[in-house]
């Protein structure tokens, strides 16, 4: 686990997108490899690499059926994966909340050598926290 509490297996742009995409399906559903590839926009090789990492962590399950032209690979989020994503979302929400609270204090007591504006203008953590809530639907 990382210092900030975010699961390092999930905390990578592509794997995070994979997890969130698979989490939109109801429990018990799966997605074909080709449809997942379409949705994420990755090459098959890249997708396999990231899926393998998630599979090694027990977060996704892949299943191959048929052979040759009829071969079908499906991917599904496991119960552990769903729990891990919920935990990830909760930690992320907490980090964004803390950042939101920290910002007004920083404006009152600016760090030496800064004018107190810092990165405030470019960050909107309130909106981002809402995004994190919506993402894990």
């Amino acid at each position: 686990m990382r210092e900030d509490g975010l699961d390092p297996v999930i905390h990578a742009p592509v794997r995070l997108r994979l997890m969130v995409t698979l989490a939109t399906l109801p429990e018990g559903d799966n997605l074909s490899f080709t449809r997942l590839q379409e949705l994420i926009g990755l090459t098959p090789g890249n997708l396999i690499t990231h899926l393998r990492k998630l599979e090694d962590a027990g977060y996704v399950q892949t299943n191959k059926t048929g052979s040759g032209v009829n071969a079908l690979t499906t991917v599904a989020l496991t119960r552990d994966g769903r729990t891990a994503l919920e935990r990830y979302t909760a930690v992320l929400r907490q980090l964004l909340d803390t950042a939101e609270l920290a910002q007004p204090q920083a404006r009152i007591h600016p760090a030496p050598g800064t004018d107190g504006a810092g990165s405030h203008a470019s960050n909107n953590h309130g909106g981002t926290r809402r995004r994190a809530d919506q993402g894990n639907g």
């Binding site: 995070l16 559903d29 204090q105 981002t128 995004r131």
Partner: protein
């Protein structure tokens, strides 16, 4: 992120890994929104297409029978138009469903198959019963009421029962409404039944399209 707070340190650690907390939240929102958009069936389109079947198709059949004294039967061209509209709506429904459900397997796929199979078998039963009614000497009026309302009864029962799988009270309410319309519209008579069904089904379908669209946007 550089104000010296504990959070700043945490977030800084995340930035070092190539993605900060804010970036992760943005990715989650975008990926979730895109997946929901791509994998959710566009129900408003389905509701509107079936609303047109009832408002136009049933409406035209009613126009073809409303002046008949004594009542004999809907005009062939009106029934042909109704069948054509129903086929078009069926095509739209299949296309919209296929677009969202393509590549999705598992429990939802199985539920969908059972749902459509139940509907197809129910409608087949209804259309087999029609000649049977004629065969036993049912009047034109009875056959007209049966033709107009029995598909609604089947659709209503399948929809209401199907919501046991989807746990959707709104769809359950619509199913019960279809059953009620099928049960009571016959009292409007062999000609009036077409007008009552057209309005009592077409308008709620348009309302459902609006509600579903508004829910999707909120």
């Amino acid at each position: 992120m550089n104000q010296g707070s504990g959070m700043a340190d945490d977030a800084g650690a995340s930035v070092a890994a190539g993605m900060d907390a804010q970036g992760a939240a943005v990715i989650m929102q975008e990926a979730g929104g895109q997946a929901r958009h791509e994998l959710t069936i566009n129900r408003p389109v389905i509701f509107v297409s079936w609303a047109l079947v009832y408002l136009l198709g049933y409406g035209v059949v009613w126009l073809s029978v409303r002046g008949q004294r004594p009542f004999h039967a809907p005009e062939g061209w009106a029934l042909a138009l109704l069948a054509l509209l129903a086929l078009l709506a069926l095509g739209v429904t299949a296309r919209v469903t296929d677009r969202a459900a393509s590549g999705v397997g598992g429990v939802s796929q199985l539920r969908r198959r059972i749902y459509w199979l139940s509907l197809a078998v129910g409608l087949l039963g209804v259309y087999v019963m029609q000649p049977a009614l004629r065969y036993v000497g049912a009047s034109h009026g009875v056959i007209s009421v049966f033709t107009a309302s029995s598909p609604l009864l089947v659709a209503g029962v399948v929809l209401a029962a199907g919501t046991a799988a989807w746990l959707n009270w709104c769809a359950f309410g619509l199913g019960v409404w279809l059953i009620a319309v099928a049960a009571f519209s016959g009292f409007a008579g062999p000609a009036g039944v077409w007008a009552v069904d057209a309005l009592a089904v077409g308008v709620p379908f348009l309302v459902m399209a609006g509600i579903t669209l508004a829910r999707g946007r909120s």
